[in-house]
Each structure stands twice: as C-alpha cells, then as structure tokens.
Amino acid sequence: MGDQLVYRPTLPGDDLEALGSALTAAFVEVRAALDAGRPVTVVLRAADLEGQGSPLDAALATGVLGMVRTLAIEGAKPGWRVNVVAGGGDDDGAVEETVALLADPPFSGQLLQTGGANLGKVVA
C-alpha cells in the first residue's frame, strides 16, 4: 500500500457551479490515488450527511459517499481501499484518530462516524 490520501472535498456553500466542480474534482483526485495504489480516506461533516446545513454542502457529502461506494465495488479486484470518515463539532480528535487507523485498512467502501450526532438518524 502507498501513502494514504486524506481527501477533504471543497464545500460549495451556496455556489451551485462549485458543487459540480467539487464532485468532479473528488472523482478525479480519488481515482488517481486509487490507481496509484494509495488508500484513500475521505473526510466529511456528519451534519452534511444528515442534511443539517447548506443543501449544497449536503449534496456534496452524500454525492461523494455514493461515489466512494461505487469505487469500492469496482475496486474489489485491484484491491482499492477507499473509505469515508464523518464527524465534526467537538470530536475533531476522534476524526483524526480514525483517519490514522485507515492508513492501511482491511476493508473498503465503509462509512465510519465519530461522535454520536448520527445516532437515531437516517444516514444511508
């Protein structure tokens, strides 16, 4: 395994064109790292996955998660490792610790959430 890519997508805020650019950039950069044999960990805000902020930030978060899952399915044979860590608020330390754990992960396509804001919520 190569060096881990820790990827934090650029949040679009209220800029629709920026949402498109951010999703496409995420695809290009994550794919390039996987192609190079690097494990990838994408870091998202849990609140965005739950739709608790800007609608476009939420679209970015869930969009990237859907893309990651497809890349994990396609990467089963070549052994791609791409996962998502979602957290935020007062659990930044937990996010960084979880990211470090994923430097050489034995699985792919998974969403790991820190903190507890997701408990009792729908995050498919």
Partner: protein, 233 residues
C-alpha cells in the same frame, strides 16, 4: 377543482409520462418538461401543458418558471441521463455531464421555484438505488446520492411549508432495459427479491403517494422502489 400545478421533468420518457398520468388522476394540472421535443406528443395525449427546455441553462429554467403559473403544488425532478463506464475508463467530461443534468439542473429548477410553491407543496426527487453504489456508475451514483442529501437539507430548510422527498428505483422496464440482452437482464432480475423487473407504475405510485396529502407527515425521506434489491445480497 384543481389540486394545483404539478411539474414533471424528463416527461418525454415512459416513466415521466406515467408519473404525469398519476398526478393528473389526482387532480393536478400538469406542466410536462423535457429537452426532447417528443414531450409535446405526451402532453397532447394527456391534455397537459408542456415546455421544451434545457434545464442546464438559466434560460431553460426561466422558461419553466414562467410557464408554471403562480401556484406550484408538486415538482417531480425526473430528468436524468447515464454515461456508464468503469471508473478507470470514465472520462472526466462524462462524470461532469451526469452531475450537471441529474443533480445541478434539478437543484437549479427547485430553487428557482421556491416562491411559487404553495403551502403543503411537495418536491419529489428521482434518486436511484444506485445511489448506494453500483458498478460502472460512479457519476450516476454521485448524482443520485447527491439528490438525497440535497433533499434532506431542503426538507429541513423549507419545513413546514414544502415537503421534499425522494424515490429510489432500481431496474425499471423502459426502452433501455428492453434493449438489454435477455441473459443479462435475467441475471439482474435474479438479484431482486420481488422476482421481477419494476414497472413505471411501481415508481409512479410511490411518487404519487409522496406528492399527496397521504404523505403530509413525510419529509426528508427516501423510498426505495426496487423490489427489495437494496437489502438483498
């Protein structure tokens, strides 16, 4: 008495047309929208108004907003495309095009109609089971999963005036699936607990439910209309 205007995008296709029929049966005045000029034929058959518009452009969105009247009760964001390829072979432009049409155009139209939605109006976004991941569809998965997040957030931002939900179909009987080699289609159907391909009616029924007062307490949700595919091995 009319139940208000219902706008359906991607209405030239079989699924969009069927959704329109269900909403018309529920008493809505229809505005059917598509880039494909065949939407005119569909609209005439249903006695509906129509707009031929490119929703990736401000002009196209403006044309729909202008034709929508002052009170929109339902918006169904159904327009979409596929540009499938394995991620290693997928052109960046193909990724961006699917995002633009499936996700950004839907967002653009929805936000442009904000002031026209009536109290209790419903937005239904056409997502997909592929939003959970699907081989050869990194772009499509991202676009359809993006619609889920957008809807979750908008549901909270616009509550209680407007409800926002999504329908996530899987394999549906359309000209595209009818063109598949029978053996390929049969293998895909094998993975569906319901034991059959979905019909446009299956999907349109879920859309009609979410658009109706029966779903008055449902917002920010996704209904998977996939014959159980989303929970099967």
């Amino acid at each position: 008495m009319s139940a208000g205007t219902a706008i359906v995008t991607g209405a030239a296709g079989g699924l969009g047309g069927r959704i329109g029929e269900r909403l018309a049966a529920a008493g809505h005045d229809l505005l059917l929208v598509d880039l494909d000029p065949r939407v005119e034929e569909v609209a005439r058959a249903q006695g509906a108004a129509f707009v031929i518009a490119d929703l990736t452009s401000e002009d196209g969105v403006g044309a729909v907003v202008a034709a929508a009247g002052d009170e929109v009760a339902v918006l169904v964001n159904n327009a979409g495309i596929t540009r499938d390829a394995r991620a290693t072979k997928m052109e960046e432009a193909a990724f961006a095009a699917v995002i633009e049409i499936n996700l950004l155009a839907a967002i653009r139209l929805t936000l442009a109609l904000e002031d026209k939605f009536t109290e209790g109006a419903a937005v239904v976004n056409m997502s997909s089971r592929a939003s959970l991941g699907n081989f050869g569809q990194a772009n499509y998965s991202a676009s359809k999963a993006g619609l889920v997040g957008f809807g979750r957030a908008l549901a909270q931002r616009w509550a209680p005036r407007v409800r926002v939900n999504a329908v996530a179909p899987s394999l549906v009987d359309t000209p595209m699936t009818q063109a598949m080699p029978p053996e390929v289609l049969a293998k895909l159907v094998e993975k569906i607990p319901a034991g059959r391909i979905g019909s446009p009616d299956d999907v349109a029924g879920a859309v009609a439910f979410l658009a109706s007062d029966d779903a008055a307490y449902v917002t920010g949700q996704v209904i998977y209309v996939c014959g159980g595919r989303s929970v099967a091995p």
